[in-house]
């Protein structure tokens, strides 16, 4: 953890006690076990599978647990062309994911509609969902997806997660302290 600082050294408790900030602890836990929702809609899904397989091994970043139930997922990887017919289904699956949740728009189609500038294709999933990371490429290489995942991890490690999770409690604590 970047935020970890050395505190008063005591050999008796060394290794058993860690000092940190609550946000940093939360974020560290969250970013290293992102369970993806594989929203594979087109050829990007093949690269997503390759990323999960042995050669590229997304497990190195703690994101290997692809869940096919949105209720167990943290990050939705929208991999592929989102047609209008599918768009509201994608949104509905996103809404079924528990907070905190993130979205990766993988590839040109999911980011902007890509080459499908037509009546049938949603011109970017960001018209429906809040996207955290866009990955360029058609389809992106597995390395690009891993780079996107690492960017997302960076983003998560900067979040004010405690305040976001317990807004009332934070306000109350702030009131007590002043």
């Amino acid at each position: 953890m970047a935020e970890e600082r050395s505190t008063a050294y005591d050999s008796k408790i060394e290794g058993n006690v860690i000092f940190t900030r609550l946000d940093a602890a939360f974020n560290w836990v969250r970013k290293n076990s992102l369970w993806p929702m594989p929203m594979g809609l087109a050829c990007c899904a093949i690269e997503l599978m390759a990323t999960a397989a042995s050669r590229f091994d997304i497990a190195r970043f703690g994101a290997e647990v692809m869940r096919f139930s949105p209720r167990q997922c943290d990050v939705m990887i929208v991999a592929g062309t989102v047609t209008y017919k599918m768009a509201l289904a994608v949104k509905r699956i996103y809404e079924q994911m528990p907070d905190p949740k993130w979205v990766i728009a993988m590839g040109a189609c999911a980011s902007t509609g890509g080459m499908y500038r037509s009546y049938a294709v949603l011109q970017g999933i960001d018209q429906l969902l809040p996207v955290d990371v866009y990955i360029s490429g058609c389809p992106p290489r597995p390395e690009a997806l891993l780079a996107g995942l690492m960017k997302l991890q960076e983003k998560i490690s900067c979040e004010k997660s405690f305040v976001a999770q317990k807004p009332e409690l934070t306000r109350k604590l702030a009131g007590v302290n002043t």
Binding site: L88, G113, M115, R117, S118, Y119
Partner: protein, 190 residues
């Protein structure tokens, strides 16, 4: 019986019902009238061994009367012969279905209905197949813009138009090299 014999017997059996014969690279094409379709289709399957309907497609000759054209691609598995039947129909006409003759026509006719808005008489289940039920347009008709039209069907789907002008993947008609004809990115001033 050889493939050539088969095509000969097609011509003999239907005679005046076939017109505008064309041949291209060993594939024979005939024009037929929409009133003769079912009779010709049935005989083609039963007596002439055209047991495989490869595809049905439709063409929108916008501004020409009759407006639409439906193309049936037949194939004889036993003799390896192709036969193409073309049928002109007007805008308000409803051609007969052939889905009871070749079951595969069921979905092909649904697709034509979905994309072109041609209704088939006697089809058992004429719903849209690619777009959702309730989508108000027929996207492959010539008057439908490539960029699409906005539509809204609450809780089912919506569409917006996606204009091509100035964007990537546009081909400009000119003799310039590809780099100028097909600008891959929006110019910075836009």
């Amino acid at each position: 019986m050889t493939g050539a014999d088969l095509l000969e017997s097609v011509a003999k059996l239907f005679g005046p019902k076939l017109h505008a014969k064309t041949e291209f690279r060993g594939e024979t094409t005939y024009g037929i009238a929409s009133t003769d379709l079912r009779e010709i289709a049935k005989l083609c399957r039963d007596d002439l061994s055209f047991d495989y309907l490869i595809d049905i497609t439709s063409i929108d000759n916008f501004g020409v009367d009759p407006r639409f054209e439906i193309v049936y691609e037949l194939y004889s598995m036993t003799l390896a012969v192709h036969l193409r039947l073309k049928m002109k129909i007007g805008e308000d006409e409803t051609p007969d279905t052939v889905s009871d003759i070749w079951p595969t026509a069921n979905w092909h006719e649904r697709e034509i209905y979905d994309m072109m808005g041609i209704k088939f008489k006697g089809h058992p289940d004429l719903r849209r197949i690619l777009m959702w039920d309730g989508y108000p347009f027929f996207p492959l008709r010539k008057e439908f813009p490539l960029e699409g039209l906005p539509s809204e069907m609450p809780d089912v789907a919506f569409t917006k138009s996606a204009p091509l002008e100035g964007g990537p993947f546009v081909t400009q008609p000119s003799t310039a090299i590809t780099k100028f004809r097909e600008p891959r990115a929006r110019p910075p001033e836009l």
